[in-house]
């Protein structure tokens, strides 16, 4: 069989543009999707797909924040507890102080940005290694969340529209057949925005440049420290969004939650092909990484695989997915 010239042309154009690479990056994800669809008739239902997307939203948003920091060659261990802290702040503003919804949203994002600013300052100005600065932040924020909330969940019962942030469906109200929860919408919009920031703005350029060679950036006369602080602050703000998502989904700020979420977020980033050494990475990859993780978990749960085996299989598949992706890249050169 011979391909038509047109098809070959399209294929080679696709090749030249590097787009086929990006499509191939989905390979592991698609293999998983196909496997689970065949293994269980319940997997490929709309409601389950939406459940998977919904389950990705919080980890996905955290992973986007982590991606920014990791591209600069840093690491942020505080994403999980910062998310919780922001949720608690929203609870304080909305429930304790009884203010209107927009103030709660602004407060959560501002709190995240501020904490990111602090982490960034510790790292850029005081030269504390990112691992330590954000580990410290992680513990401080974990403690503060408990202190501020009085170690009790804060419920948003006075703000009836609060759960809609995550579980309402803006798309569904226009296209009833597609009741995509707002949480998922927010994840994808955020992914687009941050992708754009990374590829099209000065901040994005400096992210990659800092991760590639910080000293060279500094010697180029760039205020490297200030940009680094800005990047951490942006990542913090994104954690604030994650805090709103999780609080709205649970209709409460759970002060004890968040520990361990940082590893999931970083794992999504690294599965997505971003290097922990800095200088390279993409939001698309991170989203794929986060999806791989939630599809895997959801699929194994649907198949009622015993939990201990779920863990084993997840470990194996994470390694296999990354290995497959690396083989693909090596072949692509």
């Amino acid at each position: 069989m011979t391909a038509t010239p047109a098809a070959t042309g399209a294929l080679s154009r696709l090749k030249a543009s590097g787009a086929h690479q990006k499509i191939l990056a989905f390979a592991s994800l698609i293999v998983l999707l196909v496997f689970f669809s065949l293994a269980s008739p319940n997997f490929l239902q709309t409601s389950n797909i939406l459940a998977i997307l919904q389950a990705t939203s919080v980890n996905g948003v955290l992973a986007i924040a982590a991606t920014l920091v990791i591209i600069t060659g840093g690491i942020d261990l505080s994403v999980g507890t910062l998310m919780t802290f922001c949720a608690v702040i929203a609870g304080v503003v909305l429930t304790f102080w009884g203010m209107a919804l927009p103030f709660g949203i602004i407060a959560a994002i501002a709190a995240g940005t501020f904490c990111g600013f602090i982490s960034g300052s510790l790292i850029a100005r005081m030269k504390i290694p990112p691992f330590i600065a954000t580990l410290g932040m992680m513990l401080i924020l974990k403690g503060l969340s408990l202190v501020i909330s009085g170690t009790k969940p804060i419920y948003f019962n006075d703000t009836p529209s609060f759960p809609l942030i995550s579980t309402g469906s803006l798309i569904g109200s226009f296209i009833p057949a597609l009741p995509v929860p707002n949480g998922v919408l927010i994840l994808f919009v955020l992914a687009l925005v941050i992708s754009w920031v990374l590829s099209r703005t000065t901040l994005g350029r400096y992210c990659f440049a800092l991760g590639s060679n910080e000293e060279a950036v500094r010697l180029s006369g760039v205020n490297a420290d200030a940009w680094k602080v800005a990047i951490y602050a942006l990542a913090g703000g994104i954690c604030g969004i994650a805090g709103l998502l999780i609080a709205s989904r649970l209709n409460s700020a759970q002060p004890a939650l968040g520990l361990g979420y940082e590893l999931d977020a970083i794992a999504a980033v690294v599965i997505g092909g971003t290097s922990l050494a800095g200088g390279r990475g993409s939001i698309l990859g991170t989203i794929i990484g986060a999806l791989i993780m939630s599809v895997l978990l959801n699929g194994l749960r649907i198949l009622s695989v015993a939990q201990e085996w779920q863990t084993v299989v997840t470990g194996l598949i994470i390694i296999a997915a990354v290995y497959a992706d690396m083989l693909r890249r090596r072949r692509a050169g």
């Binding site: 459940a51 170690t151 419920y155 649970l250």
Partner: protein
């Protein structure tokens, strides 16, 4: 003379249940004029962290110690140390396999979960599929509540089929995702049991998000969200222990033991099943917490 000092080493700290135990302990401390501290590891898997906490507590030369063992055997050497130092030990929440504790203030989790199983079977009409979301696969409370429920079903309600048991670490978000997956896999599921507060809220969230209005949900413990779910009907009912009572009785017994008074070896703090109709009954309302 300083106030008597009594540290309570618990299995957890952040969960509402443990905060309620702490509240009971604080109440007793205030009434009896003693000083109480309350500590517990982040997860019920961290047996060694709990041992470290116990060691630090012993260093403070307390008048008595309250201890909720994650693994009783692992703690034996330190408990012996306490015994040699003449520090009475009160076990709480679950027992310690040893004769060192002078008293035990605990809930019979096996029996409580069995009660939940009976209620579940009754509400789904004696047959059908049910599933469990449990908080922990290896901890005593997790194992007892799971086994209590499962064994009772097998013995007394053979028509009820338990199709899935999964574990969500008591994390509400994770439990929600688990419950959703179980509901997707078993669309004819009739009931679900959430074995602690976080698990139960996870099941409730899943039911709401998937719109499974027919699903019978039975929870465990209380807390504002669970109470609200019972009031609006998403949750049929729940088992409650008496965490405030556990904390209170533990401190009371510890003070008595420290003063050399006799204490009864076993203090059953009891458990109840409650639902919309009984939630406001005084004996229930007394043991519920927000």
């Amino acid at each position: 003379q300083d106030k008597l000092y009594i540290p309570l080493i618990s299995k957890g700290f952040q969960h509402q249940f443990w905060q309620a135990v702490k509240a009971g302990a604080d109440k007793a401390a205030a009434e009896l004029g003693v000083e109480v501290t309350f500590e517990g590891p982040d997860t019920e898997a961290q047996v060694d962290r709990q041992i470290d906490m116990l060691a630090a507590a012993l260093a403070k030369k307390p008048a008595a110690i309250g201890f909720a063992a994650l693994d009783s055997q692992a703690a034996i050497p330190l408990l012996k140390q306490a015994q040699e130092a003449g520090i009475p030990v009160i076990a709480f929440d679950s027992g310690v396999d040893s004769d060192i504790p002078v008293a035990t203030a605990a809930t019979d989790n096996l029996a409580a979960a069995a009660l939940a199983a009976d209620k579940m079977a009754e509400m789904i009409g004696g047959s059908g599929k049910v599933a469990l979301v449990v908080h922990d696969q290896t901890s005593r409370t997790g194992i007892d509540r799971r086994d209590g429920f499962v064994n009772r079903m097998k013995e007394a309600h053979p028509e009820v089929e338990i199709v899935d048991i999964q574990y969500g670490a008591g994390d509400q978000l994770q439990s929600t995702e688990i419950a959703k997956a179980i509901l997707t896999a078993h669309s004819d599921l009739k009931g679900m049991f959430g074995a602690n507060e976080g698990s139960a809220i996870g099941v409730v969230n899943a039911k709401k998000e998937l719109g499974k209005t027919d699903l019978v949900v039975i929870g465990y413990d209380s807390g504002a969200a669970q109470k609200a779910a019972i009031m609006d009907g998403t949750m049929a009912g729940a088992i409650t222990q008496n965490p405030v009572g556990i904390g209170y009785e533990t401190v009371k017994a510890a003070v008595a033991a420290a003063k050399g008074e006799a204490v009864s070896k076993s203090i059953d703090t009891g458990f109840f099943y409650y639902d919309k109709s009984t939630i406001d009954a005084p004996e229930i309302a007394a043991v519920l917490y927000d």
